[in-house]
Assembly symmetry: C2
Homo-oligomer: 440 residues x 2
Amino acid sequence: MSSSLVSTFLFPSTNLIITHATFNKTIITNSSLGMNNRMEGINSLAMELLYIQGTAKRSITGVHSRLVSWLPFGSGSFKKIPLNLIRLHLIKMSTDKITFLTNWHATPYHAPLYLAQAKGFFKNEGIKVALLEPNDPSDVTEIIGTEKVDLGFKAMIHTLAAKARNFPVLSIGSLLDEPFTGVVYLKDSGITTDFRTLKGKKIGYVGEFGKIQIDELTSHYGMSPDDYTAIRCGMNVSKAIINREIDAGIGLENVQMVELEEWLASNGRPKDDVQMLRIDELAELGCCCFCSILYIGNEKFISENPDKVRAFMRAVKKATDFVLSEPEKAWAEYVDFKPAMGSALNRKIFERSYAYFSKDLKNVERDWQKVTKYGKRLGVLEDSFVPNYTNEFLTWETEADQADPTGDQKRMVALQKEIASDGGFKRLDVQRVAAVTATA
Amino acid sequence: MSSSLVSTFLFPSTNLIITHATFNKTIITNSSLGMNNRMEGINSLAMELLYIQGTAKRSITGVHSRLVSWLPFGSGSFKKIPLNLIRLHLIKMSTDKITFLTNWHATPYHAPLYLAQAKGFFKNEGIKVALLEPNDPSDVTEIIGTEKVDLGFKAMIHTLAAKARNFPVLSIGSLLDEPFTGVVYLKDSGITTDFRTLKGKKIGYVGEFGKIQIDELTSHYGMSPDDYTAIRCGMNVSKAIINREIDAGIGLENVQMVELEEWLASNGRPKDDVQMLRIDELAELGCCCFCSILYIGNEKFISENPDKVRAFMRAVKKATDFVLSEPEKAWAEYVDFKPAMGSALNRKIFERSYAYFSKDLKNVERDWQKVTKYGKRLGVLEDSFVPNYTNEFLTWETEADQADPTGDQKRMVALQKEIASDGGFKRLDVQRVAAVTATA
């Protein structure tokens, strides 16, 4: 921990008694008070203050208790001095802990992050990381964008939208590539593969973005946003479908579909009673990359701490390698570290997420281009918008582009059906373009 | 959201092309550049920048992409200008969302906080609150103390210790009063009510503080810290006892004891196989107030946002009133908002926490005095330490002091046994000192 100068404030004109003082190593090298020359190289002074106002003694311990001052006396000289001789500066304590906010409560596909912590990979890289979980996914980019939290997870479309709203967030890598995302419904809802069957239905969404996506889709099918009722569900989309509060809701193939399949099975119903209208197909996007889950960060934090960010990415890469090479062991260790993961349902979600993990954590240029275009079509991004991602913190060789992304996606559908039916850990054998290294 | 000036930086001496600009409402009223008069009242300018260095075009989108500048031209005039004519200032986006970090993953005794969100009490008070959960309880005071998070929950002894380490945190109210806390063990561990039976045992603790407490206790019983093995368990103390990784661990009567009782019952064993050596009794403290769970906050945030803090406390008070008057309904609504709560175990933890909820949320002066004294005895607080709490944000009448705190504690033991056996929601009928209003 260390302290740094953050703001100036002048004390009420009164007498001041310093009751307690401790020194720290902060060097004040700049001042906006026109006293630069005098101040340079002087240690800051952290202290408790007791001051006298009229006849009353007042303490500012507990409110502005840590202050820095350049005083006309040396260290350790505690004496009563008139206030007009000094300037007080509030100091801010800082921490070397990196804060990381997940996109969702802890979820099986967060395994690489939690394992990097559990297995000491962050520690081995010389960094400390505090893992935080949100209660409302819509808070994440705002909190990271305002420097309250340093790094986090977020889907691609939200990462773009946040930047467009002036929240300076930047993607520094991928966790999940293109998990299938769409409108999830039960067959008995009356909804079919025809989008227009959503007319008159209640459709749940996570944050505001899902609604923007469905609203845009309606226009392609001769409908308007008035033709359905949108209900914001936060993290409880599956629960709302089960409770019949909504007829359908936006979800992921590897999460909400699995939750509903398991709920159906526990009620003696066939698992394929749950279906998905894939947004990428409805919107003719050609990929589900808008929902790719990314490692993101605050731009200022990233630009001021490039070595820490590189160390962070090395640690999660190592954890990803472990997850991919030893998924059984990785799952057991994740459950041990995070006991809330220890359910049969979560195990199935982990299996269904396995094929989506990005192996090299690369931001895929093709995906960013597609989703930026989609964001412009949605009216969320301006025409001049430049996508906010970089691969410069990935200090290993990344893979070449997919040779046949469309074919891969079809094969992924088949693979995920196989995993849904038989379980286990399987990944696509992706063919890459030879001798081309993808860069951002 | 709004933006504010946080730092100055000069651009490399080169030409600058502004490719995109948006205006916001920030008024710059001060400058350290000696240009105050010229700048006052000018709207700040947020923009994307593309600059030319040598022959290369470079974009700073994605790193320092949002900049404020006072430019020698009006709004909307995008033109190529020599850089030496302008000064660039980095702006920081800010949010009006209050961030709140709990002391633990979501737990039944957090009901008032989550219900204040679920029932719209925060919204009704005109504030927005983002609820965050930690993965390591030891991160909480450091994160709040460094202004990364505004408010949170933390036990009294940790709140004091954080302040003593220069992390400016302040308690602004109580959530749980004096939940019984101690060394939890199973009878077959060989541990008895005699503290000295801990010799040679593995004892789990949450963060570093539990170890300090046990180390201090050993000296009262003719033992040294070398006489036992301390194992840091974070939030997994109960699990470590079940897995026999530890022989005993520090826990709460209303949480870890319940977890172990239910585990015993599910294995056909008597619930009273789990026992607790209460730290307050071993250490002759006269109360379990060191473990009272408090509403805390960053001092700077609190001093700069007193109205927001008052509004926050009014909202959680309203939620507390609801929990106390309609516990069945409150529990159902909490589970609805936070489905992870929906287990028989959590219901029991909620019942066992019910009697501990502070009704008026007051910081109890007597408790703070005792725990401050205890902190000094532990060597964690200096002799001159002034406890860091205030009741000034509680805008309702608080209760008078307990007439017989020691007797109340004995009655609480009996009450909690009754609830453990029969379930339900019961609270002590506490006698108060007449005509005295407790103040901080």
